[in-house]
Amino acid sequence: MRGLTREYVLQRFLMYLLTIWLGSTLIFVIPRLAPGDPVSEMVGRLSLDAGYIENADKLIESWKARFGLDAPIHVQYFRYWGNVFRLNFGYSLSHFPTEAWTMVSDALPWSLGLLTVATVLSFSIGVTIGSLMGWRRTPRWLQLILPSSLTFTAIPYFMFGIMLIYLVAFELDWLPATGAYSRRVDPGWNLPFIKNVLTHAILPVVSIVLTSMGGWALGMRGLMISVNNEDYFLLAQVKGLSPSRIFFRYGVRNAILPALTALALGLGGLISGSILVEFIFAYPGTGYTLYQAIISQDYTVTQAIANLIILVTATSVFLLDLLYPFIDPRITYKRDMR
């Protein structure tokens, strides 16, 4: 009865597949809707750069064959899906002998690390602030201080990042401005390297956390206020429970459920924002690699990364969905959950 029912898991899994399908199909379709095809465009650009390329037509043909672009569109589509499933995206066009997937998988850990830390921090800080803001018994001095934490809420991550770079890295010279680690240190599991990585991560993480936590705080505040008006909240007071128990078990415990839903729904936006943060900080994650692939017209890497980001986002949402029934016992009863 409680926890995961097969129906629920199946429903969420179908949703998961649908999201991936929708995203990946968009990525497949869009380039093909554009006038011209990527290969001719690329060869065209090459010939512009080099002045002239011999047998440009043949080159285009052979590259097309290589990428399977000569096949009818539905065949291409099925092949594309086969490749997505095998995570086989071919070679990078800009770093030719390297496989697209290798470039992507090198970048992934940086992004995952940065985003996980930033998201967990901003969500937990934001939810804490919001819960306190939405609770009548919060001490007055705290009530007066808390709204100041919302100061940066309206500012996009990357703009805040630019200002942080200018102030903290260039003017004050406290922290490194760009990259994930300096050339001076040896990558590996040694202390100087880890320290170096952490100092490089501070500014990007801070710019994401400070600008996004206010959103969670505001949402949580609204949810707490709603819970405050619930009958069970009143009964908890009348039962003579301690304020901390009421706050956690009756207030936060109930208010956090929709906040978690919002987190699952907001992941896409968070990841979108992080692309710009990585760009500004030249942080070697997937977002930055995506940017470089795009400016260097690296068609395969672009596809690989876009697919990967969609896959990772959908997977995180799916995992959150699977966790949900353990936190909210009603979930499998509610048809109309979200």
Binding site: M15, L26, A154, F158, S272, R330
Partner: protein
Amino acid sequence: MTVGQRTVDESGTPARGWGLNTWDSPWLNFKFLLGVAIVSLILLFGLLGPLFWDTDLAYTGAGPLNKPPVWQEGGLPEHPLGTESNGRDMLAQLILATPSSLKVGFLAAIIGMGIGMVLGSVAGYVGGWWDHVIRTLSDSAVTIPALVVLVVIASYVQMTDTTAMALILAAFAWPGPTRLVRSQILTLRERSYVRMAHLSGAPALEIMFVEMLPNMLPWLAASLTGGISVAILGATGLEVLGLGPTRVPSLGLIINQATTNAALVRGLVWWWLPPIIILMVIFVGFFLMTIGLDEIANPRIRQFSSSRRERTAAGEAPTVVHGDGGIGGGEDAALEVDDLHVHYFTPRGEVIAANGVDFRVRKGEILGLVGESGCGKTTVAMAILQVVQAPGRIVQGAVRIEDQDLVSLSGRALREVRWRDLALVPQGAMNSLNPVTPIREQMADAILAHENVGRLELEARILGLLNDVGLPERVIDMYPHELSGGMKQRVCIAMAIALNPQVIIADEPTSALDVVVQRVVAQTLLEVKERLGVSMVMIGHDMGLQAQLVDRIAVMYAGNLVEVAPVESAFAEPLHPYTQLLIESIPSIKERKPLNVTEGLTHDLRNPPPGCIFQFRCQHVEQICRERRPELVEREDDHLVACWLYEPERHSLIELEEA
């Protein structure tokens, strides 16, 4: 980003409530108006700028290179905000870029909103298969990271102007509004006035526009302002990455050119900072509008903030005038309510919800507190329990249990008395149990808050209590949603008797239950009372039920007690005209009916008339009734009434006054 899940269940005010030109209109929200002002200023800068400044300077690049703004050393008056590395004038660039950034945002968000309204209405109204498909699509579309797909699109599609970009952005702006419109329609169509419109045969579109749209307006507006800033953010993001239109100046493009020309390292602050500042001001403006609109749409948030202000203004601790403890009320009183005054401090004035309510509950008796809804009986219950919700406050009076005045207690001392001496069987048992914890935990925390009990003993005790109210043992591990309404109510009764309290307040314990279950629950209450000898205050409007359950009855009208009497004499010989009306409205004692007295005028609770509170509806009203308030006086044995009819001296009283 989502600003939380907007709870959609409270915009209960019918459309006419949102008067746009009354002074207390909710639209006069400070944050919202400030946001509007900020965005308008920015817009004016972009629209009027070309009249005052030669915007061609943004392109020509004939000026000197890298000049700082005029107030810095080396600045030139002909380039007040400086120039960048190509010699282009910054002011001219900003004037051209600002409206184009705003235009993209507005266009994309409005298109997205349009699509969302159509899809959302179809999903909400047509329902069924359509609803399923649209919901699934929009749910999965929101989780796709929009910027990734946008970046891929932008790298293939050459975007020549801002309109093309707005169209592409709109493709990602529809899921939010779709979900919003759908859930609003689902909520609103349950509202009575929408149902009425349905029944009267109004066409769906008309209902949509006439009945629903005005109510959805603040929600839609909040979604639109949120959508605009998200769209501006997306457009700016693409521009900053250099993937937007490159021939049209835009704020993001300026930032892109600045960062790719190493303006940060070279200290060319006037190149990258002004577009960021303008963007931030725009975002702050829309953000203020969005949260302002959220408050407009969600009265609870408004109420929360205003009640805080209210309390801050009035001082945190209410100054309560305590009734002098002189009245002992006899040895046999379990609960004494002494001259209780509860006021609600609303923006439109002070509402007097309880005006000198004064009664005793004897040991082992059930006192019924009756009256039509809004008469203040629930306020009295909440005041006894010390949980009057802001903006309400006990301004005077005492509530005593065993000579201890609860009104004067607070913090730990109050918590100790709660539940141990005074328990509650709540009105909406449906929602009175915490939905996410099992029954075991909710009963345990009531016990553990007051006693030290070991695990095994605790379990045995909870099982015993469940058994007392006739519930099977397995209920202990169930969640509220797994129980029926009657079972939940019995869980609440079991919880209420857990600590063997002196007094139980039962707030309409059987409302919202069907008739058969009502009987079971009422029976359970009676049994419990008999066995434990507990005293009870039974709040209700169901006179028939009261007649069967209570020992004495107290009738309340507009915040005042008008009659207190043993149940037999109250029904056999009601003294107060209002009580008589109540009893007449029951066709037969056997056939219970909710109280429904609608004839007559009620006065404004903010401004009670001098004299009797019931004078506007009373058939026996006399001169003295309009001038002097009748006191609650014992007219017969144990039968108290507040009415001049039973005062033989009443005529001489006014004459005396006139003399």
